[in-house]
Amino acid sequence: MSVMGLFFVFIATVAVMWLVRQGVLESPWLEEGEVAHYRRAGRAAEPPTAGRVGLAVFLAVAGCLFSLLAAAFFMRGDAPDWQMPPIPGVLWVNTFLLAASSAALQIAVFAARRADAERVKTALLVGAVTAALFLIGQIWAWRELLELRFFASSNAANAFFYLLTGVHALHLIGGLVALARTTDKVRGAERVTKALTTRVELCAIYWHFLLFVWLLMFAMLIGWADGFGAICRRLLS
């Protein structure tokens, strides 16, 4: 659960800093003098859109989910029966694909800010195709493991492999739905509006998050995080 603890400390720090910036520590009714400026702890010049805040909150929830899965992974990984399956080579290709997808969406964001509609369309399409290829690659990896008879029921490590990649893939599929709707909007639009740019930005942020999660997850699966897991367990036992 140390993973969860770290994540929680991060969230709590962000929340408390934000609250202080919002002025929860101040007592405006006790302050003397010009009242007009006491609301400096108001909003920024341009407040973030509801979509952006909504996505941020959702990422906190999803981050929580993945941290808990990681915590469970490390705790269960302590048992003597734990035997990690061999890691299919295709996962390296997949990692590259997801990184490419994330980069493509970032290019789309830059293009949208320059109102370059053609470029946005191409970049979104590249992003979607590489993400879809990543998903196909993940299925490929599953098949490879299943053919080698590494079943979910035969060892908890195998089960964790399928669970982690599966939950991550489901998040990506959800993202693809959002991406499809954004692409559809961009295709229908004559020019890149501010609302469209925001949509593209939201997709890109979500993609970067999923890439980040995948990289950590991949490190866990190939055993680079074993040392970290050992530290976590020592903290709690």
Partner: protein, 588 residues
């Protein structure tokens, strides 16, 4: 203090919040069934929650009947008893309390109290309710499957919860887990809405420190729920895989009925960690909205500003943060490292500090106040008493050494029913009596309300207070039958009968409330817009009940906090949040 010559500049509101395009319903179905209006969704949520709540109440009678008259009622066998215990607990905690506070009161009050037209994502909000309804139906449907619902206890601890000895191991447990997963998905949609609405849709002048404590409580609870429910989600998902695919996340190697199962090396303790990572915050997910609502009820009906508003807000936040790191106190007897237990005992007892601070502030708000003993006020006071009572037994149980002998006895049952059963339910009743005039435009009957209060309050005390004593005697919880037990005196059986009789009576007495609820819908006295002369924003809507979009043409502008009661020099004894500032006024 203030330059009296420029009253219009007092507390200038910050930047304008852009008005939103509202969704407009075109047919009866989209207006009242698949509605995207938070107020309709709120009533749907509350209605569903209360309906399953009644089912859970009836199940508690089954439990009580068995405990008082073991074996006397033919249809209550051990299976039915365990299924009732499980379903009663799970429904009350998750499907009733969480849903009604966040889905019901959250949906109704957040937009109105912060001056928004609706939630920021109305469509997602609608989906949230329907997913919740499906989750509830899936859960209840387990009664109609062979084997019935699961009897694993509401904590669903593996390995026992998915083994054949437990009732409902074929379908019941699967349906329970699927239902919980659905509930969490639905709740996440709603929770996103509550949080983002508070962050984004506050009207002009509504700074965070001008929000009513109800909104603070619901907001903090929603944040906590968003962070805590993934724990239950992961636990349910993995347990479901253990049950259906035969994985060994939680299931150790074991022999069942002489047959060796295929499970290897799983860790039941891991499940407990995940479950209680959700389970303890859940207590405060229920309690924080109750704290907030009670603060508002006390302030309005005592005609006095809440004492120490800022402290109240910080206490809510502190409780929220601390409650995420105390889950281990539910696992003292799981064989954990003593240092680990020490850590959890410290954090657990530390929560008493902000909680006590809140209790003091409520009491100090009442001190020298113009207390109106209306039904909502009575329920708020009832909450104070039960909550303090339940909180103090919590201090006993938070200590490892005291907890070990008391664990899994009726003392624990009495403790958590006082603190997170009766106390929040009293708040729910108080809140319904308080906001019913806004929701329907009519008052509820005060006389019936007071009868309802005294029966519920005294009755609940009579049920749960003696249970502490039974617990200290060592009477275990969850036992179907005690049989001949040396350390339990015969008088305990008599006490059990008394408790059961009172429980049945109090349960039936709730029909007074429902009669009042439905009768007042038609025959209640017209309430007008603001019958309690309350200052917060939801009472200042142009229409009562508030129309679609809440605020007519113009969003309200807020000039002060919601607790401007008994303001010196004001025309009435309160100043609404959106009334233009008085000359020389310096409200928060």
């Amino acid at each position: 203090m203030t330059d009296a010559s420029v009253p219009q500049n007092v507390a200038p509101p910050p930047a304008e919040v852009p008005d939103v395009d509202l969704y407009h319903a075109h047919s009866w179905i989209t207006k009242y069934v698949f509605s995207q209006d938070a107020k309709v969704i709120a009533i749907q949520y509350a209605g569903t929650a209360i309906t399953v709540g009644i089912l859970a109440l009836v199940l508690s009678w089954v439990i009580r009947l068995q405990l008082a008259f073991p074996g006397a009622i033919p249809f209550i066998d051990a299976n039915v008893y365990y299924q009732s215990v499980t379903m009663h607990g799970m429904i009350m905690v998750v499907y009733m309390l969480t849903a009604i506070f966040l889905g019901g009161f959250g949906n109704y009050l957040i937009p109105l109290m912060v001056g928004a037209r609706d939630m920021v994502f109305p469509y997602v909000n609608m989906l949230s309710y329907w997913v919740y309804l499906i989750a509830t139906l899936v859960l209840v449907s387990s009664y109609f499957f062979p084997g019935g619902p699961t009897g694993a206890g509401w904590t669903l601890y593996p390995p026992q919860s998915i083994l054949t000895g437990t009732p409902g191991h074929e379908y019941g447990i699967i349906l329970m887990l699927v239902s919980l997963i659905l509930f969490i998905v639905g709740f996440t949609m709603g929770g996103l809405n509550y949080v983002v609405t508070v962050l984004q849709a506050r009207t002009r002048g509504m700074t965070l420190m001008r929000m009513p404590l109800t909104v603070w409580g619901i907001f903090a609870a929603a944040v906590m729920a968003l962070l805590a429910f993934p724990g239950l989600f992961v636990a349910c998902l993995m347990l479901l895989l253990d049950r259906t695919l035969g994985t060994s996340f939680f299931m150790p190697s074991l022999v069942e009925l002489g047959e060796r199962k295929d499970y290897v090396g799983g860790s039941p303790i891991l499940f407990q960690h995940l479950f209680w990572f959700f389970g303890h915050p859940e207590v405060y997910i229920v309690a924080l909205p109750a704290f907030g609502i009670v603060s508002d009820l006390i302030s309005v009906h005592a005609r006095k500003n809440i004492f120490g508003y800022k402290m109240m807000v910080w206490a809510i936040i502190a409780i929220g943060v601390l409650s995420m790191v105390v889950w281990g106190h539910h696992m003292y007897i799981s064989g954990m490292d003593p240092w680990f237990g020490f850590f959890f005992a410290v954090t657990t007892l530390a929560i008493a500090v902000p909680t006590a601070l809140k209790v003091y502030n409520w009491v100090l708000t009442l001190w020298h106040a113009d207390i109106h003993f209306t039904t909502p006020m009575l329920f708020a006071l009832g909450f104070l008493v039960t909550f303090v009572n339940g909180g103090i037994t919590g201090l006993y149980l938070g200590n490892v050494i005291v907890d070990v002998p008391l664990s899994a006895t009726l003392f624990v049952v009495a403790h958590f029913h006082m603190v997170m059963g009766i106390a929040p339910v009293l708040v729910i009743f108080g809140a319904i009596y308080h906001w019913y005039p806004k929701i329907t435009g009519r008052m509820m009957d005060e006389r019936l309300g007071k009868i309802h209060f005294w029966i519920t309050f005294l009755g609940a005390y009579a049920i749960f207070f003696p249970m502490h004593y039974l617990g200290v005697l060592g009477m275990p919880r969850r036992f179907y039958e005690m049989g001949e037990t040396a350390f339990v005196p015969a008088s305990a059986a008599t006490l059990n009968i008394v408790i059961t009789v009172i429980a049945l009576a109090v349960g039936f007495a709730q029909s007074i409330f429902f009669y009042n609820l439905f009768k007042s819908l038609k025959y209640g006295a017209p309430a007008g817009g603001n019958p309690w002369r309350a200052a917060s924003l939801e009472w200042q809507t142009p229409e009562t009940p508030p129309g679609h979009g809440n605020w007519g043409q113009q969003l309200p502008v807020v000039y002060r906090w919601p607790y401007a009661y008994s303001v010196p020099g004001a025309p009435e004894d309160y100043l609404p949040q959106n009334a233009p500032p008085m000359r020389g006024e310096h409200s928060p």
